[in-house]
């Protein structure tokens, strides 16, 4: 028999076909798979706990050795930044309080008005193609699938994709499967003057689109539709927030980042903008899960 004959390929072909069949069934949604997955998770739990106990001293030792110099440099840098930020923080706090008071007076929700749960990161993605992290809070703390996650600041980090009673998995904004409706706010100085009041009136451009992740080595992008009001007027440095809406899983006005590049595509494809994220996903230690569910999820 030849070294690689059709007869010898039967097993791999059978397994490949079985895999495709399983994939198709799972992607269409299958309760049996969900039950088996849940059982497998329960079986794997003691293994993972044991592995964590055994390997965490090794991980810590390696990390301490590897990251020491970087951490010392970072602490020095952060100390100087804290000094610089202190004065700005007082002014910002005042502005935030005023903003929340105004929103409350108008009966509008702000990000600060939603309950939230702070959680610690306990694990990173085990694969090289998923951008996910695991946190130590789960359904027992009110977390549900789809809820938005921010950093300890306010920047959007991702969304909850899997929940168990005491832990959850968050898909990061950079994951290729991640998508969220966003709005880009551009306040442009106008050369014209409002003659009636003699006050400069900066023009505010609001453009919406869907932000999609593209992996951890590439910035997420927002596609803009050609011919819309703000088309061609978005520029680098403009701010990007979640758009919210009845079907969006994220509430409105969570800061996402700033426009890093504007890419013009040929024909009617419109523009794309690359977004520099507010949150530093490389250095996440804690996240805040916003306990918000859109009205459609609540049946409202």
């Amino acid at each position: 028999m030849a070294l690689y004959s059709p007869g010898r390929r039967r097993v791999i072909i059978l397994l490949a076909v079985t895999s495709v069949l399983l994939l198709t069934l799972d992607l269409r949604g299958n309760r049996v798979f969900d039950a088996v997955r849940s059982a497998a998770g329960a079986v794997a739990d003691p293994f993972q706990t044991a592995a964590d106990v055994v390997t965490s001293p090794i991980s810590r030792a390696v990390r301490s050795y590897r990251d020491y110099d970087d951490l010392v440099a970072e602490v020095t840098d952060l100390r100087s930044q804290v000094e610089a930020q202190r004065a700005a923080e007082i002014a910002a706090q005042n502005a935030i309080i005023e903003n929340q008071d105004l929103l409350a007076l108008e009966g509008l929700d702000s990000v600060a008005s939603y309950d939230s749960v702070t959680a610690r990161l306990v694990g990173q993605s085990p694969t090289n193609f998923d951008q996910q992290v695991e946190i130590d809070r789960g359904s027992a703390h009110g977390i549900r699938v789809g809820m938005a996650a921010t950093g300890t600041g306010v920047g959007l980090v991702g969304k909850v994709t899997r929940v168990s009673p005491q832990s959850s998995v968050i898909m990061l904004v950079t994951d290729p499967s991640y998508a969220v409706p966003v709005k880009i706010i551009a306040a442009q100085d106008t050369t014209g003057r409002d003659e009636s009041t003699e006050v400069d009136a900066p023009e505010v451009i609001r453009e919406t689109g869907v932000l999609r992740g593209r992996g951890d080595d590439r910035l997420p992008r927002v596609s803009l539709v050609a011919g819309s009001a703000g088309f061609g007027r978005i520029s680098e440095g403009d701010t990007v927030f979640t758009a919210g809406g009845s079907t969006s899983l994220a509430p409105p006005n969570i800061p996402v980042g700033t426009v890093a590049n504007v890419i013009t595509r040929a024909g009617t494809a419109g523009q794309e903008v690359e977004v520099d994220l507010v949150s530093d996903l490389e250095r996440l230690q804690f996240v805040r899960i916003i306990l918000y569910q859109p009205p459609t999820e609540l049946g409202g």
Binding site: V11, V20, L23, A40, V43, A51, I58, G123
Partner: protein, 176 residues
């Protein structure tokens, strides 16, 4: 698969699979050489092929992939397919040399792991993920392959135990 149960290797592969998935989600996820998560389960799947043959490597890889999919939460069948291919490709090498030295087995395992990891974005595109590949794959693929080769001296004997492979069982290519 029935043959796997009859020969008793399936429970051992599943057991090793759970242990390795636990290591994958803890130690391997934390320690990332060049920012790459070393794929220990994939390395073992490839080692199964290198330690036995293409068919048993594929079957063991398939089972390990299913364990991985069920525990990690990736779509069921996605990793099973890539790891089955890794085991199969690593096992093809055994047709060229019946009782290879350890470093040749490490090369077989590395090639199997390289093929398995390279198939991950292909499967992702198949299941509808848009553009999952960036330039980082130029670092990811070689790192995963080299790590599988480095782990092979540990993985191959473990695979032999799990698959109940004894050297006398190996047959010359073409034998019935």
């Amino acid at each position: 698969m029935i043959s796997a149960l009859r020969h008793g290797w399936l429970p051992r592969i599943v057991l090793v699979g759970f242990v390795l998935v636990a290591i994958q989600t803890t130690l391997a996820a934390d320690m990332r050489p060049f920012g790459v998560s070393v794929q220990v389960v994939l390395a073992f799947a490839a080692a199964c092929g290198a330690a036995s043959d293409a068919d048993r490597g594929a079957a063991a890889g398939f089972v390990l992939g299913l364990v991985y999919d069920l525990v990690i939460g990736t779509p069921v069948g996605a990793t099973a397919l890539t790891m089955a291919m890794a085991g199969h490709v690593a096992g093809i090498g055994r047709r060229f040399r019946v009782e290879p030295v350890w470093w040749i087995l490490a090369v077989f395992a590395a090639i199997g792991a390289l093929v398995g990891e390279a198939l991950v974005p292909v499967v992702r595109i198949f299941i509808g993920e848009a553009d999952p590949v960036g330039w980082r794959v130029a670092v990811v693929f070689p790192t995963v392959a080299v790590a599988a080769g480095v782990l092979a001296p540990v993985m191959v004997p473990t695979a032999r135990w799990a698959l109940s492979v004894r050297e006398s069982e190996l047959k010359v290519p073409g034998d019935a």
